[in-house]
Amino acid sequence: MAETSTRPRRQRDYHRIPQQLPLVIDNGAFRCRMGWAGEDTPRVEFRNVVNKPRHRATGETVNVVGDFDPSLVKTFDFTRAAVRTPFDGNVVYQYETMESILDYGFERMGIEGDGQIDHPVLMTECPCNPSYCRGKMAELLFEAYDIPAVAFGIDGVFSYLNNKNQGVSEPDGFVVCSGHMATHVIPMLNGEPVMEAAVRTPVGGYHVTDYLKRLLSLEYPYHVNSISWEKVEELKQDHCYIAGNYHSELEIFQNGGSEAEEKTRWWQLPWVPPPPEKEAATEEEIARKAAIREKQGQRLREMAAAKRSSKIADLEIEVAGLEQLLQNLDVADEDTDALLAESGYLSRDEIQSALTKASVSLKKLKGEAVQPEPEKVDDTPDKEKYPLLDVPNSLLTAEQLKEKKRQRFLKMTSEGRARAKLKRQEEGLEREREKQIDEERRFFPLLSLFSTGTLVLGGRGERLSASQKERMRLLTTAAFDRGKEEDNFGQRDEDWQLYKRMSRDGDDDEDAEEDDAELVRLEARLQEIDSTFQPSVALAQGAQKTSVEVQAPKPLTAEDFRISLGVERIRCPEIVMQPGMVGVDQVGIGEMVEASLRRLPENLHKLVVKGTILLTGGNTLFSGLDERLITELRACRPFGSTIRVVKAANPLLDAWQGASRFADSSGFRKFTFTKEDYEERGQDWLRKHKLIYSYADAFS
């Protein structure tokens, strides 16, 4: 389980391998192991997954089978590649992915051949593999690799038999095989599995790791990126264990104290302390910096001055030219047209205006004050301006009446203009004032909060009533809108959001408010009775909280980059014992043995119960599992019964070794499904294919 993830080397001794030597493949959902029959260890072992990263140099997507190696990142872009596994649960369902994996495995084995692999194959599969899957796998092996024969066996059973050979387990008993995707319990009678009484719960090592990963990600949302599957797998293998008594172990953690602390593990994420606050810079440095700044400023100023002087020169030339032109025009009366045409101006006036414009900008550039044209202030009294207004109509002629009308109109408009001007000024002042207030508020936020009185300790009531107001508003608008024009409510999806907003939290918050009031009342009463009574913790904490919120965030310390594994150490592997914890309504390992026993005919109980219970598979590596299983079984079995739980000699490799022995025995050939069978009888016949394990002399 904890092998280093170095990728397997290509085997180079294929020429020494005898022809027709069976190939043994332990096709597990987690790791794939391949080797030659009769050998003790598999030649090739790798994660049973395919990655499809992009090759950085060529941009092509390629298949990368097996373990993820950090050094691959240099060559391949894994950002958009998802790990693919051929397994759905513990069953192979994607045979194209499977083919990539087999390609890789066979190639690593160093196999050579001309369009065929001339070795029978013994492959493991899950117990009671659906015949469709078995058929597909056979099809793949026969069609793509042209193997002569195939046989399928169960990994847990091979492991049991291998352990039986080593004297660990007995011919009768149970095999408890907990793998990557599922856990099986299979009763063994005289070295043969009794599949009718087998039990499977779809919880395995994958689920434990996944559970731990999700728990940590929820607990430490800031570190989600550091919590990779590989890392969590490693944490699980290093730190998780099965509690002998889950509830007392939980209590230890719940009560805290030194014992819990002792059992807690910490994973420190890489963390670099922020650079210490910059000390006040030395005098020298300040002076140096100022000098540099000054130098830069000087250069900019010089550049600006140069630009300005060149502009001034240009303008002076222009002004001089224009003046000359005007003089020429004055002198030469007859040739004006010709002169104008030459200069490009249309008239004398135009030249004049161009001249004034140029001279004004020249003056501006030179820094001389340009007198703005004084605004004409018309303060002639109304009487003089509109003399006719005061004269009665009867004294005026028709002409004068017309004039009077005009004057009245003029007066009204001018008055209106004055009013508007005044108003504008006022508005400007108002705006200025608002701006100032706003600014103040920004600079002294707390001050304004206190002054407006919105910051009330435990300000829950007010905030909630606002939300309730909003809710009421929604309700009323909904009610009135409905009555009006035609009803098209619900045509758009957003309409339905309304109900969500209307119903949000309403009732619950009311309850909470009532509860708060009740609490206050009770506390008052309590204080009457008992003068030493302390007011409620919640309110006091609420008060503290508001003061905490105001504080600036603390700088991060190494502790913020520490992930603790406390109760998780027992909580995660516990799902194998109690699958209900992850929502799987099936029995855990302890009860599985009992369930399996119930499925056996009564007359066989005695035999099996006396035998050994073998723990095998990567997911049984947790320390404490054997003792826990004994405790659980003792609770179910009659008093005084002997319960023998044994651990497999090598829970990871025993299955492959058992298979290797089986394939090496003379009995193996009798149970293979040959290519002729495949061609004549077809895939369906494979359903009946069943190994008789004890028939092989390896296990007799």
């Binding site: 060559t75 069953v91 369902y93 066979f106 009718e196 039990v199």
Partner: protein, 166 residues
Amino acid sequence: MKRKSAQLDSISNSASATPLSDFPQPSVAKTNSSSSGGVGGGPGSELSDSDVILPSVLHFKRSQLSDRYPKGHSRGRHWKHLKQIIQAENFHLYPPDEPNYISIEAPPSMYPAKKYCDITGFEAPYTDPRTKLRYANAEVFKRVRSMPDEFIQGYLALRNAAVIIK
């Protein structure tokens, strides 16, 4: 293909300079010799490995993966999920005493499921009626109530109780 493996060499060469892993070194030597050997060598030649990528033609195969599934051709879905496989399997036609994938499924537990706090994992005597999260004590409850919705759903999903809107 040849060019690609040559590039790979240079990259893995630079990789081997770092102490990160020792695996590229032996492969570099191998691939160097192979890329000079040429592409068209027989099955015995070792052009195949840059330890990671497989050659597109494997001589031990009768039909090549790339021939049957040419690149860039979308073929739609060509596999069935386990659920569909099981549905298509005609278990009812087989003899009833023959064990099959469904029949070996474990039964539900005979004992009532223990309730554990969704957040801390401790025993949980209470359930929050609003979020439906189980919690162990008042402190956890406070956390539950201040939790954003996605975390609530995340914790519920841990025991397969999250609301899934399809």
